[in-house]
């Protein structure tokens, strides 16, 4: 490939590889990277993967859009549903979902409501979130913000909009969060996962061009780095060709 792999393309490839054939999942609100990941998985190894749970089944958008709740993006789809069916999907859950927010904390909790102050007297008010349920009724979810710095990766969120692992296994049990919750955190810099015992976030791999030290410096809590941190496996030539020629035909992931 002549053009260098972009950070967003690297994110897409990491996420796509973790989606299995015949699963049911949806992209969430900030859909550019998740939708590309789903499309790439379907092209590469998961032809029976169903996109559903957000009022449309198996859209064929022809290019990537920033929002998938958009008739341009889902106008060509196999079937449409409404918010009435969304109510049912939210209870039954999906296999996978994607989230990102204003703040992400050491346990994978996400804040979309406010930074500083209180809910009704916030220093900065965020957008809020529509669907809170897929984070725990779905088998698992991925956290994939397109920015990674010490301001949006903080020890503790100011407001807990989307539950991740709360404050660890015991708190999850108490709250009745019985599914896996966040599996990976994939950012433009690195991949993080969660310690099996404590459920705290830790650095798993860094993308080409990043060092563990720099990723730690851009994160507002300790990433539990011990020993060598591997490099994230880069996209294969085939993954990149499929991604650029069939999915991201307008280069939205390379802006």
């Amino acid at each position: 490939m002549s053009v260098a792999v972009s950070p967003l393309e690297q994110m897409v490839v990491v996420l796509a590889r973790d989606l299995a054939d015949a699963e049911l999942g949806a992209a969430g609100a900030a859909a550019l990277v998740p939708m590309a990941a789903i499309a790439l998985a379907r092209e590469m190894h998961a032809p029976n993967l169903t996109v559903g749970g957000e009022m449309f089944f198996n859209p064929q958008p022809g290019r990537l859009y920033p929002s998938m709740l958009d008739d341009r993006a889902l106008g060509h789809c196999e079937a449409a549903e409404t918010f009435i069916e969304l109510f049912g999907h939210s209870h039954h859950g999906l296999d996978f979902f994607f989230h990102s927010g204003l703040q992400h904390d050491a346990y994978g909790n996400i804040n979309l409501h406010h930074v500083g102050g209180t809910l009704h007297a916030p220093k900065m008010r965020g957008p809020g979130a529509a669907n809170l349920s897929y984070s725990h009724t779905s088998t698992r979810f991925y956290i994939c913000p397109t920015v990674h710095n010490a301001r949006n990766f903080v020890e503790k969120v100011d407001f807990l909009t989307i539950p991740g692992h709360l404050s660890g296994p015991e708190s999850k049990r108490e709250a009745g969060l019985t599914n896996e919750g966040p599996r990976f955190v994939v950012t433009p810099r690195a991949v993080m996962d969660f310690d099996e015992k404590t459920l705290r976030m830790r650095l798993k791999s860094v993308h080409a061009g990043n060092t563990p030290e720099e990723v730690q410096r851009q994160t507002g809590f300790d990433l539990a780095i011990t020993g060598e941190v591997p490099q994230t496996p880069p996209p294969t030539d085939e993954e990149l060709a499929v991604l650029r020629q069939r999915i991201d035909t307008t280069g939205a992931l390379r802006v």
Binding site: D71, H120, M124, R125
Partner: protein, 315 residues
């Protein structure tokens, strides 16, 4: 046999109404109870012409509901000073935050409750179905549950498990936008998504719909399965060309992202103290136009909007 006199044939009343009359009808109903609900989702199928007309008619102190995703129109109502409380899960322009929403909440001028999609959809379901509450068993672990004013914890009478209940959400007025209707108010959404519009129609006291065009009765009768909201639920229908602008009305016209972005820039300037541009925007688009034709001229005229029609065709 008796002869059938012409007088024995009463005429069915058309529900077609002008934009200004519809706005006054809504404004007066909302003075009784200020709960207004908006159909569509984010930048699609939003009844923006009705919203502008309602603002021009002087509505105040509104309590807003919507499908779970709202943006431009809500922000505009806040900018015009017409909103008191919001029961909206997500308020965003998607590619950026809603500037007036942000500054009004941060400044304490409006109350934005923390809610989620299931609370809103469940509350509308309870109202539509005529039951005292809708159970929800998919809310856990979020701070939203501590603040959400519309839910209560209950014991499930079958499993004994602690679950949530949401009471009926009954909008006094719901504004919808559909692509077509007949004169009796049977609505047809031709867009791929119908959002929560059907649910809201059944949950509300009064539904007022804008449509891109009124079609002959035969169009509806030829294909009753295509009717998304039967006229039974609709109080008034208004034919408004580009009535959803700057949001989209697929398949007829696309969203006007440039317009919304330019508006948001003015909102951001207002947020840091320079309100002149925003005030001029509101005057130009909300208070000064005497008709939808005036509005279309103000946003760039039919030639400009033809671009949005082309984009919707070519998608």
């Amino acid at each position: 046999m008796m002869t059938i006199d012409h007088k024995m044939n009463p005429t069915r009343q058309s529900k077609v109404m002008g934009l200004d009359d519809a706005a006054i009808l809504a404004r007066d109903a909302l003075r009784e109870r200020p709960d207004l609900c908006l159909g569509g989702l984010f930048k699609q199928g939003r009844p923006v012409a009705l919203v502008r007309a309602l603002l021009a008619a002087g509505a105040q102190g509104l309590h807003l509901y919507s499908s779970p995703g709202a943006g431009y129109d809500v922000d505009l109502m806040i900018a015009a000073g017409a909103v008191e409380e919001m029961f909206l899960p997500g308020v965003t322009l998607e590619n950026r935050l809603c500037p007036n929403f942000r500054s009004a909440v941060e400044g304490g001028q409006v109350t934005a409750h923390a809610l989620d999609a299931l609370t809103v959809v469940g509350g509308l379901m309870a109202s539509a179905n005529g039951v005292p509450f809708q159970p929800i068993d998919a809310l856990r672990g979020s701070d939203v549950l501590k603040h959400n004013p519309l839910i209560r914890e209950i014991d499930c009478p079958f499993t004994g498990r602690r679950i949530h209940a949401v009471g009926p959400i009954r909008p006094r007025v719901t504004f919808l936008h559909a692509q077509e209707a007949d004169r009796w108010g049977n609505l047809r959404h031709l867009s791929t998504m119908v959002y929560a519009d059907q649910l809201m129609a059944r949950a509300s006291d009064m539904v007022i719909a804008s449509v891109d065009r009124i079609v002959p009765d035969e169009v509806i009768l030829d294909d009753p399965t295509r009717v998304t909201v039967p006229s039974h639920y609709v109080k008034a229908v208004v034919e408004v060309p580009f009535g959803a602008h700057p949001t989209a009305s697929y398949p007829n016209y696309a969203m006007d992202e440039e317009h919304i972005d330019a508006y948001a820039d003015l909102g951001d300037a207002a947020r840091v103290g320079d309100r002149a541009g925003l005030e001029a925007y509101i005057a130009r688009h909300v208070t000064e136009p005497k008709s939808q034709d005036d509005y279309i001229k103000a946003v760039g005229g039919p030639e400009y909007l033809a671009r949005l029609e082309a984009e919707a065709r070519d998608r």
